[in-house]
């Protein structure tokens, strides 16, 4: 086996195991820690595929930003009380049906075999001149082809900021 195969399976096992732990832990703090482990695994997968920039973004933004946000909110909620309560929703049977269907789908596709998965044709490496590094390539495409979504994303983040402030601000006269 080649090194990258070994690494792939290592990361895949880490991702799936941590994801399962994330959704089954009784204590939310443990869930958050397992979520971090999942995200690190995904960053590893990115590195394996030569997406260094995204691996960095994953660590800084996802783990450093989003998960910390989760942990902040967990601090506002009394965890000790949480952990005594039931974990799963009472309508588990609906979920079981959905899970069985989705897993059946996955099984069907696995059974079909790898040959039936035809993705698009890989393009031959284009002449990009001096642009070689991953972040440079991303920058080039982001600010030419995806300029519009980039600008829209700024409004999206503005809306998220307004939303978070409007929702989480203390009630006037409550405290």
């Amino acid at each position: 086996m080649q090194l990258d195969s070994i690494l792939f399976y290592l990361f895949a096992v880490q991702i799936l195991f941590s994801a399962l732990m994330t959704i089954t832990r009784r204590n939310v703090v443990y869930s958050a820690v397992w979520l971090i482990s999942t995200l690190v695994g995904v960053a590893g997968i990115y590195l394996l595929q030569g997406a260094e920039f995204l691996a960095g973004v994953q660590i800084i933004l996802y783990i450093g930003g989003i998960t910390v946000l989760f942990l902040f909110v967990i601090m506002l909620v009394p965890v000790s009380e949480e952990s005594k309560q039931r974990r799963f929703s009472s309508q588990l049977w609906i979920v079981l049906i959905v899970a069985v269907l989705l897993t059946g789908e996955l099984g069907y596709f696995l059974w079909q075999g790898a040959d039936s998965f035809q993705m698009g044709e890989p393009t031959p490496p284009a002449e990009i001149g001096t642009v070689t590094t991953n972040s440079e390539q991303i920058g080039q495409v982001l600010f030419s082809e995806y300029l519009l979504p980039f600008e829209l994303a700024s409004i999206l983040l503005l809306v998220a900021m307004i939303g978070a402030v409007v929702m989480a601000k203390a009630r006037p006269g409550a405290e």
């Binding site: 991702i15 979520l35 989003i66 946000l69 899970a99």
Partner: protein, 99 residues
């Protein structure tokens, strides 16, 4: 590594995330499960980007991460407002919240 392996990995992660959203009662864990789903999407995009030798997939990933951050911020904001009024973070203790 054949791209199929990544597709199967991402699909498994998608299933775990979906099951998490639908089964867990704790809203914070539900929001985490949504992050798992978006990570499944990203694994797909980066794998295809590598396979197709085409950087667009990685750029798409940046937008998905942006969206994940925005959704988490608003979701947790709403959760705090809810907690102020109700003192619960359990999905099925929200009276109207039944599915």
């Amino acid at each position: 590594m054949p791209v199929t392996h990544y597709l199967v990995l991402s699909m498994a992660l998608l299933i775990i995330g979906t099951v998490g959203v639908l089964t867990r009662r704790n809203i914070i864990v539900i929001l985490m499960s949504i992050e798992l789903i978006l990570n499944a999407v990203n694994i797909n995009l980066v794998a295809f980007s590598d396979y197709l030798q085409n950087i667009n997939g990685q750029v798409f990933t940046i937008f998905v991460i942006t969206d994940a951050a925005a959704e988490a911020a608003v979701g947790l904001g709403i959760l705090i407002a809810l907690f102020r009024n109700k003192e619960t973070v359990h999905a099925d203790e929200i009276d109207i919240l039944r599915w």
